[in-house]
Each structure stands twice: as structure tokens, then as C-alpha cells.
Subunit: 339 residues, 2 copies
């Protein structure tokens, strides 16, 4: 039997690898029969892990043995020195060589971005590939980019991010002409730095694959009025991590209050079904996977601390990207649209 | 009877003014007898409002009649045109003329910052006055600055913010040598832009009124390991508003889940005492009031949407700043320390 797509999995990246990778794979295999997988890592360990989950190497699951691993603590320079011997390098290379269609890694983000840029070409018209992520809001999900790939961005980059982010949004949520907002510190024309003001003017004048709705502020991200939020990698990364920190702070305060005394503990037990619904809805594992976009093949960065269920969601995201033909749509947009 | 301090209140700024101002004042008057107040605004309205709260103009409460008001929608240019006729201008001017010791306004932030800079001098050694705010964390509160006064900052500004923020922290929380962190997108030396890297090197080498602990990321802000978090006004503003948006999103999801059906509504009623504790603890009104620092007199910006209780907390904050002799301590630090 032949499969429509082949996903490359860096089986050794992040915490609890390869267990979480195999666990996520196991969940996904049950609901899909079009996609094969190639797992890159220490074969002996992967085999052992597959066995634990009642799986084995077969026509749908391939293993590529790799000797070396890139750890989270490793500098980008040292990661590159390991080169072709590492599971991360080999998994990205498999996409370059058209053996696989997309790659997922939970490993060292810095190394992943640099090796991806080294091995994969940038799409014509894209100067700086951004890292995009799904961000929950009161209505559904939005896309925020850049989340950390490019610390400094100019007007051209922001316009390219708007286009790329809009194609991604259209593919994932089936909406033509998504609404794009530019992250700023006020909605008035005079706010922000010169780059933002110039981008604002250009986006207002341009005719694109999106509708530009103007500046938005940090508190607007979760309102859900805007589909694609464009910012530089520094601001995007700080915003993302501040949101994570805030969520963590609030949930820990709630936990503390409900475990304060006997009464609060009983209250928690009674409310448990409701809390478990809330937990399910707010679970960040639901939207695990940042997408490194603008290269000739997409690269998915799963959270380093992701577990099996979170990793499964990265696989699901990858399958949507493949089926939605994301890369060709981005390419078309840059060929046909104004650069 | 004479009073030790006199606080200027812009009685007309923000939503529901002057009611919230008078309401906040009423709460504060009960717990303090050293401070007098001057309310700037439309006398007729203020008199009416004071009466509602069983107060009146007396030896402790003065009213300065002002004809004009700066609204939130007004541009900074239009606000300045109104000039000396507005309650905001007059209240800041009273501090300049030493009639009052500190000013609080809930009005138009842009106008407040610009008029303050116009009327009040900058402390020698301070290039750009930052806006500082209290940020709750798992242990207590930290101070984050700049929250929006200066979009672009250089190394010198960041070092000045570290000093100023540390004096503020020492005054409010009685801790010598607070821990200062520089907001970045990773803790490694190579992360961030050149300005941050240079600041990091300088802070590591300098001997100051604080202990520099290195880079911190967005998710570290709420951990409470660092007392003073230094960043530029763009990043700080986005981080603050993203945190507000995240808190708002989570609480609204919790509310929705607890009002979903009869069972969840009953669960909520049972857990109500615990929820009311949580609400009290996470209430942003507890730390209402951003502090515009680096001028010869402090200026307090209360949230535009603040109510009476929130405004009361701004008054309380102002009283701590006065009693702690903040401005002189900042001045001394810039005279004695290395600039």
C-alpha cells in the first residue's frame, strides 16, 4: 500500500523523547490512513518504544538510525557542528530531498530554525521566514507571527508576514481574505515607530489576499476580531511568553484557593466536572505546534515540553498543512501578488 | 490644622469622573489624617458629588475650578491647546508650583505624559522618564518599566530605568538592592538585539542600587524571582496589554463554563466563597496606578476605567511614594551613583 504523504518526525527532540513522539503517532494512526511516517533517531530506542505502544517498523512507519542528538542546552553553533549525524538535521534533510513532505521536531528551537534555513530554500519573494503560532481567542483561534525567528523586521517583512499568515489562516480555517491586524501600542495613526507607521500606510493601500483592519493592541489578540496578527519576532515572543506566564499565574492562584481548606477542597470536588471542561478547553496542548513558514517546505516546531497528546496535535496540524497545499499557495501568492 | 502633604487630583479624567475620584477619596480619608487634597475640575459638579458622599470643601479638601476638560478622544496636540484651562494641566501645574506634592489623573495618557514633561523638569541624569507599573506575581508584586512612555530606548535609558525602578521598589516594598532583570526572548547571552546585549554587559559590570540578575523572558514576569523588570515602552506596553487580554479571556471562559447549565450554575453557587476570594486576590484594582518617574515630581496615572476603589488605591500608592521620599531618593541616586 502506498501513502499520499510522508511526515518526518525528529524522534529525539524535547523532553521525554522518543516516548511522546510514538505516543502522539499512535493516536494519529487510528484516525488517518493516508500518511506514512519516518522517525529519525536512535533506532534501538525507537524500536523499544514502538513495541511498548504495540507498534513496529512496517510499510507505514520507517526508522532512520541517527547517531547523534542535538540537546536543548546545545548552542546553535555546536548543533550545526554535529551536522548530518543528528536526528534533527537528517529529518530536515529528508524534506529537502523530497523523501518526506514536512518535518516535526520538539527539539532546540534555535538549532531547528538555523538548520532549516541552511538546508531548505526560501520561497522567492520572502526575505525572512517567520515563525507562526495558533493563539486561542474568544471566538476560535488566530494566527500570530513572527513568534521569535526575526528579532528585527522592516516594512517589507511585515507585508510578507501578512501575506504568509493569511495563506496559512485560509488553509487551516477555510476563510478567504482573513482579517489582518498590526500589533501596536495604540490604535491611533500616530502610535508606534516609523516602521509600523510606514507598514500601516502600505497595508492600507495594498490589494492582497487579506483585509487589513489596522493596528491592534495586546489586549485585542484574544478578542477574536482579527484572524492574523503581525508583529516582529521580539515583540511576538515576549507577548506569547507573557500570555503563557499570565495563564500559569491565574491557574496556580485558582488551584491554591481551592486547596486552601476543607470547604474549598469540597467545593472543588463538586465543581470538578466543570473544571475539567474548562481545563480541556484552555489546554494549550490543543494548539501545539509553531509553523516555520516561508521556506520551500514547512517545518513544525512542537513545544519542547509537549506530551504525546500535544505531539499528536502537531501531527494533525501538519496533515492539514499538507492537505491544504500550503506551500504552493504561498508560492502562488508571491508570484501573482505584488511583492 | 495643617497637613503634611497635599495631593492634587485631576477630578475630571477617565470614566465616571468626578464620582470615582470622590468615592476613592472618601475611602482614603477614613484611614489617613496627614494628607490634604486639591481637586481640579468643574466646581459645581465636584461640589454636588462631594455632597453625595457626605463631604464638602473644607480645610482638607480644596477645589480649583477649571473650565475645560481633556477628553480621552482628544489628540495630544488639542489637549495642549486647551492649556491652562484644563483640569489636567492645572493639577500638574500645582505640583510644579509646589502647591501640591504629587498629582493623580485618570485622564488621557498621552496628554498626561506630554503635559507632565512640558511643565515638570526632568531629574538631572535622566534622559527619558519611564512609566512604571505594579505587576502581580506568585510571591507579591514586581515593578515593570517602561510601560509605554518611550517607544525606542537605548542602553543608557535601560540603565537609568534599572536605577529608577529599583528606588521605587525599595520605597514601596522596603527592600534594599532589589533584583533587576532585563526582558528578552531567551536567557542566553546571544539572544536579543545589540542594545540589549550592550545593556546586559554594562549591567553585569556596574555597581548600583540593585543586583542585576540577567535576562528574563515574558513567562518569568509572574514567577516573582525578579523585583524590577526593565524593557522599552513598546515591548512593556504590548506585554501589559497581552497579560490583561489573557486574564480577561481566561476569566470569561471560566464564567461561560459555570453558566453553561443548571449543574454548572449550582456548582458555581457552592464554590462562590472560594471564587470571591480568588476575585479579590486577582483584582487589578488592587494595584491601580502607573507611575511616571524621572521628573522632579511624580505623576500617577490611574486607569481610565478605574472605579472608586481602584482610584483609592492610586491615592494610597501616592501616599507611600510621598512618605518614602521617592523623588529625593531618585535624585540622590543619580547624583551619587554613576550615570
Amino acid at each position: 500500500m502506498s501513502y499520499k504523504y510522508n511526515i518526518a518526525l525528529d524522534a529525539m527532540g524535547g523532553d521525554n523523547a522518543p516516548k511522546k513522539v510514538v505516543e502522539g503517532l499512535k493516536i494519529f494512526l487510528k484516525e488517518d490512513n493516508e500518511i506514512a511516517f519516518t522517525l529519525f533517531g536512535i533506532k534501538k530506542e525507537i524500536d523499544k518504544c514502538l513495541k511498548k505502544f504495540d507498534l513496529c517498523e512496517n510499510q507505514r512507519i520507517f526508522i532512520e538510525d541517527c547517531e547523534k542528538l542535538i540537546t536543548n542546552e546545545m548552542s546553535v553553533r555546536d548543533s550545526i557542528k554535529l551536522g548530518k549525524q543528528s536526528s534533527m538535521w537528517k529529518s530536515i534533510e529528508s524534506v529537502k530531498n523530497n523523501k518526506c513532505d514536512i518535518v516535526i521536531s520538539s527539539g532546540n528551537t534555535g538549532a531547528l530554525l538555523v538548520i532549516s534555513k541552511l538546508l531548505l530554500k526560501t520561497i522567492d519573494g520572502v526575505d525572512k521566514p517567520p515563525l507562526a503560532g495558533l493563539w486561542p481567542n474568544k471566538k476560535n483561534l488566530s494566527i500570530v507571527l513572527d513568534l521569535g525567528a526575526n528579532v528585527e523586521c522592516n516594512e517589507k517583512n511585515f507585508i510578507q508576514f501578512s501575506k504568509i499568515g493569511s495563506v496559512l489562516y485560509s488553509v487551516l480555517f477555510d476563510k478567504q481574505k482573513p482579517h489582518v491586524g498590526l500589533l501596536n501600542i495604540g490604535s491611533e495613526e500616530i502610535k508606534g515607530n516609523e516602521t509600523l507607521k510606514n507598514t500601516h500606510t502600505s497595508l492600507n493601500l495594498s490589494n492582497n489576499n487579506f483585509t487589513y483592519t489596522g493596528y491592534i493592541e495586546g489586549n485585542d489578540i484574544t478578542k477574536g476580531e482579527v484572524d492574523v496578527i503581525v508583529t516582529d519576532g521580539f515583540t511576538g515572543n515576549v507577548a506569547l511568553k507573557t500570555a503563557e506566564g499570565t495563564a500559569n499565574y491565574i491557574t496556580s492562584e485558582i488551584k491554591n484557593s481551592f486547596s486552601y481548606n476543607l470547604f474549598s477542597k469540597i467545593s472543588y470536588l463538586i465543581s470538578y466536572p466543570v473544571f475539567s471542561q474548562i481545563k480541556k478547553k484552555l489546554d494549550p496542548r490543543n494548539y501545539n505546534g509553531a509553523i516555520f513558514l516561508g521556506l520551500t517546505s514547512p517545518v513544525i516546531k512542537s513545544h519542547g515540553g509537549a506530551d504525546g497528546f500535544a505531539f499528536y496535535n502537531s501531527i494533525k496540524l501538519s496533515s492539514k498543512i499538507l492537505r491544504g497545499n500550503l506551500i504552493n499557495k504561498i508560492k502562488n501568492n508571491f508570484v501573482n501578488g505584488k511583492k
